[in-house]
Symmetry: C5
Subunit: 342 residues, 5 copies
């Protein structure tokens, strides 16, 4: 899907242009605050589909023939996947950003790539997955001229800000999930918590791989001198950069905590094993001697072929034995308490 | 709550101004050592409360209309939360600092954000939680003119120093709690210690996330050349910076020790499990053979339908058996000692 | 095996030259886009073989006498093994790159060294193992003049790109293997998974040792100013550099995950031991008291020489005993449930 | 205690001056190689003692009124504790150094702060604990003029060297203690070794926090250009710096080894638990089946009310049973050996 | 032992000079390619031996009086031990290098210090242990003039190269030992493997402490501009530097693997404990219920004083009991299989 949005002082914000009109539009929109935003959306994930190739060709045509971007930049955008980066191609910037998509159960914590080309009066976005943050920005720009009349650099800022805005709820959701897992591990450790802790760890590690270079991209936009970024807008990118600093920071804490969950699991399990072992040992220690004594007086030396004469009165023996039997558990309890097992 | 404190050579320290008088006050206090301190306190945590919006509007009015701060800076202060940072907006500095609040039981180790704007003759502070360090400074300034007559930069130094002063007792409390937990783990490991060690680890990790950027803010104040900071006052910020270097350092040690507590817990638990297992094994090893022997002579081969003729004298058999029974525990004890289990 | 490929505007791409013609060829191919590519392949791994020395001598002759490279550079290429590096010898560059070779079962994840010399109009490659990426490039250059007519620097770029292209499938294979091992560990931990996880960890660690310096080599080619690299081609090396950034990044994640697998193994094993122990303890706790009771009433105090008079009716005793026997398991079950073992 | 040592070309080394004579002495000792060393020792640890305040006032008087140091520097010295640092106050340097104090049993590994002020012709030292290294230097200077006649910077060098000299035996003692603990852990792990290993780890971590900034202080003295340090003496500070490089290095190794001790403890304990478990399992596996068989033939089905007719000859049954009883242990031993438990 | 080797264009390589002739030799050998190499070998390890002091005095005489080195440099060489370093004393360089000495069983992995002074026409080496690499170089220089005729800087390069050459076999030996230990741990973990893994870890950690600064020394020689190092020779030091880069790199991998061995040990042990526990639990679970049943029917309620009337036919009871006894093991096996223990 190729859609075009443009704004100039005469026409205001319009979305009615076709690909064929693009060159004329670009020539027309050269004034201060004029902007042409071309959003290229490769909807077909299945590369084998026949429509895929056709759409790809249309998109490539726009990038190559209309805008005249460098073949390597087009290749970067269309073929390859990248971590966030910023390439300066002199007359335009090429940016790779990642927007986050997640659900509350954290069954999915994914980042989706958006490729952006920004020139003095145009912004080109390319993506092959649905990007909610971009959609929000597109609708906002269509609705209200204020978003677009400060030129493509301000548009880029708003897009960056919109993308950054999705990361915080994601990190909050991870934080909550982690808290829940840790509470459950303390309550009663079970392997599925281990699985969940690992899933969280993986998500955190994925976010980290994105957040750190994305922060650097924003840092470059805020700090370096690019022709396409007005000096007065740089402060806005610094603001988004501060967001990413905080996000990366929070994510780093989550990483620590996620790693700690696994240690906690091991410790809690070790502790429970120790508890179980103590119970086993106490029971064994109590009953083994008793069972031996009952076995002793169950032998046929005291009634049967192998009978041997008893030197003592049976009644006395029984009483002594009963006393011994009662005193063994008591001695054991005392011993165990002294060793601090209970 | 909005309160205003000002000092100039004519009036001395006064706190009787209203928001309406602020512009006049700012115009008046332009001399060397004149200072206007506006403290904006958003007391209402509940954003849904109707008074919240009104207060927010009042505060925003002061920041936007009276002082004319940049919208992004106001947004940073009022809407967002940040790790400590320092933004230079040319005619004023915007600082985010965090004050620590804790109780001795470490049930709460929290940091509270203070947003500060400092200009040539004014200091604006904004916070939405009670900041004891700021309160102390406010009272000190009201009481004694010496605190304010060196201008807003010295006021800022005193505020930074006051905030820094709360961190050391907090870190000491954590250190003590950690020591206590470690001693208890050595004494007898229990899951609640694990929980406490994790709580401490979390607090340390939280402090670390604050102390490190806060130190950098002070470093910038001590090192960089800002119009609002008198060169002669820079040495004071270096002093506070040294505090934070030490705090970050101590906190880092605590982090090491907290991580060590968890390892210690695992090791001590493993050791206790080993002890318990040895006891179990010794008891089992002693009594199992004995029980077998009693069982052997309890069989109905020696008295009953299945009786078989004994080739030896029962009395002799009984004596031999008794000797064997006595020697088994002794052999076991010897064997166990040789393997070094006891 | 020594093979020579050359291209100039007159002859096009040719591969029919011999070592003897090399000096003449080099003198001839001085124009823009002319290139001589000499591929030196030391096929004989066995250094003791007589042909080995002869081939080595031929190769050394080309490097020393025909191209006149510095003895140290020749030594680096022929004798020693290196991690990727780039040496600037003023009139030529000496590069060490590593190509990856692996099979899907990860029984082999190996990197093979290619030594490259690049001058204004020549490219010399030396290797003592088969390098599929180099072979692909050689065939492509032979087939299509477009690959060679931009000079040796573009040839070098294509070679670098071809080598980089093999790493991604390798890392994907490792990722898949790791996922499989982790799933199996969760299912049922067994020592062979530990062995596989360690093998993967070793492969990842090996790749890391290669990818990081190789990325730096490409970074130098993209950033630094070398006489042999046309300024306009530098952007291509930047593209390959971006590849390596992503590869190193992915590999770093794999490293984290591989380390996590071992922790996971320990945790899952600890958990299973805990499960087993609980079962053992429950069984023991249930039957030990029962066995004691049966032993008690099996003693010869109740029938035999040592008979003692019973104060109660046997039938009543039997019923009481049966009730006690039934209640013991129930009490145990209740106790165990209360401690949360089941 | 305040003591004064001075040297000039006329008087030689003298220690007979009083605080009142200090200003005159300082005015007098302005020549090349003249030096006044004032050692301020706050002996009273108890801040509540009345003499404490008096002594503190005397010391403060010297620092503030006689030498005129900056209030912040005095505050740093008298009130606060610091990690090693170096502040340049233009006409003098303020240094914080830490001397190590330890006993062979490592019951105490402590570092004690020395605050030093060095100017063109004076050295002021302040400490509130006994510093053996400083005491040695004081005695050496008193005894032999050669130590003092190269001015205060050489005196400072000697003091730094003397302090550095105490660290090596301390690190050696830790190394030895660690070796001993590790040997004992291998021999037979016990919780007190864990406690000792943790104590060592804590000492190492404490030294690390001191050695690293102390090294940087020496690095600054060796590298930076200060008015109070003669260029020709800088090479001496480089020498002390090299010491600290080695000390920090050794300490880092100790840290690794100390962390390894805890892992070792866990591994050795796990191993011993495994050994114990094997013994238990073998004993249980041997005797449980035997006990069952004896129980079987002890039932009253073979003699008693519940007697059932035997289809076989009792003698035959007894022999068969005996053979089974003998073969069970043998089978078990074979099985156990095959699984590699013994 | 003091031995002197010199080379000049007239005499060629000679080793017949005495200490007394040294000043004359040094005055004589000033031409291009002339070199005097003085090797000082303090053979007596025992500092208490009377000959030790005499030899030390001789050596000190050469360093101080003949060459006139700085007292600090002499002190560094004779008294102290250092990690590798390079000090520039303007007219000469002072280097500390470490040569590795090891045996195949890794019972000894030691590094020995060589102190080197290099000037425009001389090389002085000092060591108090036998250095095979230095010995090899000495013999090579004596045998063949080519080694010495490029001056002391080339001699230094050859010495550095010779020293570097001993590290690779050492690291290979460690790698092999590590492989062997890991294989054995997988086979059957035993405490002596733990001890060996720790010994290897210690050796790797020791090498790391040496290799990293030694690499930096070579880096300085290759990169910085020293009067004593001819610019054309710098490329040779770069070559040795590349060696150390690779060595440090390999060593780092070994460190990772050694740390992994300990984790592996713990995991394999945990796994084996789990196996043992399962066996124990299965045996106990099988026989405990059976033993209870035999005990039940062994009570004197079925024959003896406490006899109670049976409501059922004994034969029927026996058959039912036998069926129950047979079904219990089967049920257990089914249950165990379902929980995945076997």
């Amino acid at each position: 899907m190729i859609r075009i949005l443009y704004r100039n002082s005469k026409a205001g914000v319009r979305t009615d242009a076709t690909v064929e009109q693009l060159p004329a539009l670009l020539a027309e929109c050269q004034g201060k605050g004029d902007v042409v935003w071309v959003d290229l959306y490769q909807e077909l994930a299945d590369e084998a589909a026949p429509e895929h190739a056709a759409q790809q060709a249309d998109i490539e045509h726009v990038l190559r023939d209309v805008f005249g971007f460098h073949p390597l930049a087009i290749d970067d955008a269309l073929v390859e996947t990248h971590v966030p980066k910023l390439d300066d191609w002199e007359t335009y910037l090429y940016l790779v950003l990642h927007a986050v998509v997640f659900d509350q159960d954290l069954d999915e914590v994914d980042t989706r790539e958006v490729d952006l080309f920004i020139g003095p009066n145009f912004l080109v976005s390319y993506h092959f997955e649905d990007i909610p943050a971009l959609e929000r920005e597109w609708r906002a720009v269509t609705r209200d001229e204020r978003h677009s009349k400060r030129g493509p650099d301000f548009l880029l800022y708003e897009l960056c800000d919109s993308i950054a805005g999705d990361y915080l709820p994601c990190i909050d959701a991870i934080d909550e999930a982690l808290d829940k897992v840790q509470d459950e591990i303390f309550e009663r450790p079970a392997p599925d918590m281990l699985a969940r802790a690992f899933k969280i760890k993986r998500a955190v590690s994925h976010l980290r791989r994105i957040l750190s270079p994305q922060r650097e991209v924003l840092n470059k936009l805020a700090r370096d001198d690019y022709d396409m970024i007005d000096d007065r807008e740089r402060v806005y990118f610094r603001d988004v950069y501060d967001h990413y600093v905080r996000l990366a920071d929070l994510n780093e804490s989550l990483r620590d905590l996620a790693a700690g969950s696994l240690d906690m699991y091991l410790s809690v399990t070790a502790n429970r094993t120790n508890e179980v072992m103590k119970a086993l040992t106490i029971v064994t220690t109590l009953f083994m001697p008793l069972t031996f004594i009952t076995g002793f007086f169950g032998m046929n030396f005291f009634g049967g072929t192998t009978e041997v004469p008893l030197p003592v009165n049976p009644m006395l023996l029984f009483v002594v034995m009963s006393v011994v039997m009662c005193s063994i558990p008591m001695a054991m309890v005392l011993y165990i308490r002294r060793r601090g097992w209970w």
